[in-house]
Symmetry: C2
DNA sequence: ACGATTGTTAAGCACATACTTAAGTATTCG
DNA sequence: CGAATACTTAAGTATGTGCTTAACAATCGT
């Protein structure tokens, strides 16, 4: 039902967030609503490019906008930010459950041989053969 | 500094998450490590396609893997999941600060008697959950 | 009414993505 | 050894993305 819809939405939401410019726009809108040209000002690209980014953001549901007169005012949609955040939170909590189980297991072991468990992302794990 | 690097990483992380199949792989790996063909089993696509998805995930830092013998074992990298989550959390908290400010402002308004026919606020005081 | 401001639409281009099939490489097992 | 297993690599293809420039509204101040 809404599971399917959420999945579709998440595609669009994460896709929208997968761009530095769009993340900057979202960050800016979190400080308060802004017009299109106001949003465009910091970026070294054409205004139509920004409009396209805004379309992506609006299609994803991260941003909403309303045009009054000749100025379109954009705002962030917190619920959508929360949607993405909660997907990640759900994954993390599962991982932590697992980590808890691992720790519980290690607590039963007599020799606490320290192993690194958190590495920087791009560095491959040390092989322990 | 590391800000720049984080931004670059976030591009890759959100891009990696912007695909239903890859999110399902991450979700599966949050339950525990798995081999490539084990990961491929639920999906109606070729094994090379899954390998390509895994490369995207590994490049993003969301997944790490190690090959032992002929089987490659993949695991999730919780720190990277947290990286994405915390970016969203930071945005959300800014938005909530704003909402707090709005609510504080509304609290200072003595008479909610609407005698002006100004355009009513487009965003209601309390957001829908 | 005129011109400046603010945004929109359309077309096009270079490059990236999500697959496919086909063929190859190790590694394990009988 | 030889066959099955578990990937890996390469090449091709269709579609999507992130821009650009050019031309076109609509609205506002004077």
């Amino acid at each position: 039902m809404l599971n399917n819809r959420s999945e579709v939405d998440l595609d669009l939401v994460f896709q929208a967030l997968a761009d530095r410019t769009r993340r900057a726009i979202v960050a800016r809108l979190c400080e308060g609503p802004a017009s299109v040209s106001e949003l465009a000002k910091p970026f070294p690209m054409s205004l139509p490019a920004i409009v396209q980014h805004l379309q992506v953001l609006e299609t994803s549901g991260l941003v909403s906008s309303e045009k009054i007169g000749r100025v379109r005012t954009c705002s962030v949609v917190p619920a959508t930010v929360r949607l993405a955040e909660s997907w990640l939170g759900a994954r993390r909590s599962v991982g932590e459950r697992r980590l808890d189980r691992l720790e519980a297991f290690l607590a039963t072991q007599p020799e606490p041989k320290p192993e690194s468990h958190e590495r920087p992302p791009t560095i491959p794990p040390r092989s322990t053969p």
